[in-house]
Amino acid sequence: MALDVARLRSAFPILVREVRPGVPLVYLDSTATTQKPLSVLAAMDEFYRHSNANIHRGVHTLAEEATTLYEDARRKVAEFIHAPAARQVIFTRNASEAINLVAYSWGRANLASGDLVVLTEMEHHSNLVPWQMLSAERGVELDFIPVTADGLLDLDVYQALLTRTPRLVAFTHMSNVLGTINPLADMVRQAHAVGAVVLVDAAQSVPHLPVDVQALDADFLVFSAHKMLGPTGIGALYAKAGLLEAMPPFLGGGDMIKTVHLRTFVPNDPPHKFEAGTPAIAEAVGFAAAIDYLKAVGMESVAAHEREIVAYALERLEEVPGVRVFGPTAEHKGGVVAFTLEGIHPHDVAQILDRDGIAVRAGHHCAQPLHEKFGILATTRASFYLYNTKEEVDRLVEGIYQVKKLFG
């Protein structure tokens, strides 16, 4: 079902903003973070105005309401990704912290010197640095699935790497630069066949595609609320129940314990074992509202809309002389278009587009090794979400012509 984007946009107050007088906003930076519908803002505001309290240990009405709302949010997040049980969802600050949690807790308990971890060349820094840190500390070995010239993973090399029986394979479901949607289900199956545990960086997939952790058979899967219409300050780690049971705690403190004595403690059961201190309670409430919104729209519709926009964007950008788009063709691609403009620095492109109210990002997008691979330092990136329109793509293309004229 095609989205009624005009109607839907009216729920996003920021989208009617003028960047400066007379210059309306064209927001093409949803891969960095998304805008929020009124229902998400209202849910958090209402929480603070009506039910705000600390959770879990309180018996008064507010504490009970807050606890129920927080745990309901966990249930909604779990259902959204088809997790078997709510207790398999840990709330973190963001996708990055979720990966670090796995690296510190599961990684330090399970990986020893010489063990192999397989990553890809298209990973976000958040799925590189935690493993580099573990590698430096423990002598864990890292190897990488290369990215081909057309922006796909080189699956032949993946096969070869699997013969070295990695302990962990960690890869992104969708690249935040190339837009590549990786053939996850197959890759997970192959990793499991050699006994590897699989972590999926779903920061760009859960917001944009229907994701079913059971169908994918992911062992760990991470994402961030702020990239899916939700608030900043909260993300999620999904993991298989047996893994969570066996993992040692990560952060210590209130709520993650059953009992504490001066010198010893007994950890709580998952998910609480991994949530130390007062969590992001209002943010969980906002996260739940974002999921309600996305469910009402339908993830199939979101994905279809983005496919249409990105196909149109690729078509329009191809016609501009000097534009080079990175990444695969539309069929393998989510709503992200990273490009360079010959002879003009991406920072200048982005800054001049901003004069026309067009918000795109310029830089390495936290994927410096990927840019190195393509022999460039930076790209300009336009990214799309359910609220973007073809007219906005047209504005982008006009803007690029303006940039070329200025530097011509």
């Binding site: 879990h56 240990r57 309180g58 018996v59 009405t61 504490a63 009970e64 606890t67 129920t68 745990e71 059953k258 009992t259 007994v266 059961d269």
Partner: protein, 131 residues
Amino acid sequence: MEDLYREIIIDRYKNPQHRGHLDPHDIQFEDDNPLCGDHIEVTLRTDGDGRITEAAFDGKGCAISQASADLLMESVVGKSLEQVKSLGRQDLLDLLGIELGPVRLKCALLSLKVLKAGVYGLGESSDALVE
């Protein structure tokens, strides 16, 4: 909420009918709620057919946990062990006749958890028993 401290709860807390420790017994189990330190022990006697003939609890804790335990013991006398295995949280709440928030629910369910862990012969009790 108005009903939370229904007379029966205060009454059972002050004057429990099934408080004690059966010796000898056929089944015994104990556990506590780490959140608040409530502690419950359950002892049962059964007949040859696996039917409960006597039930007692001992322990300490809040009125909800202790009254729940007392009412639960009363309700299981005459039941078969199989019937006990199928008891759920709603059965207990029906006995209490009140609604409970998530924190106090744990107090109320402690005795049921302990009872079921004992009947199943488990090494430890778990929240899954009362979900």
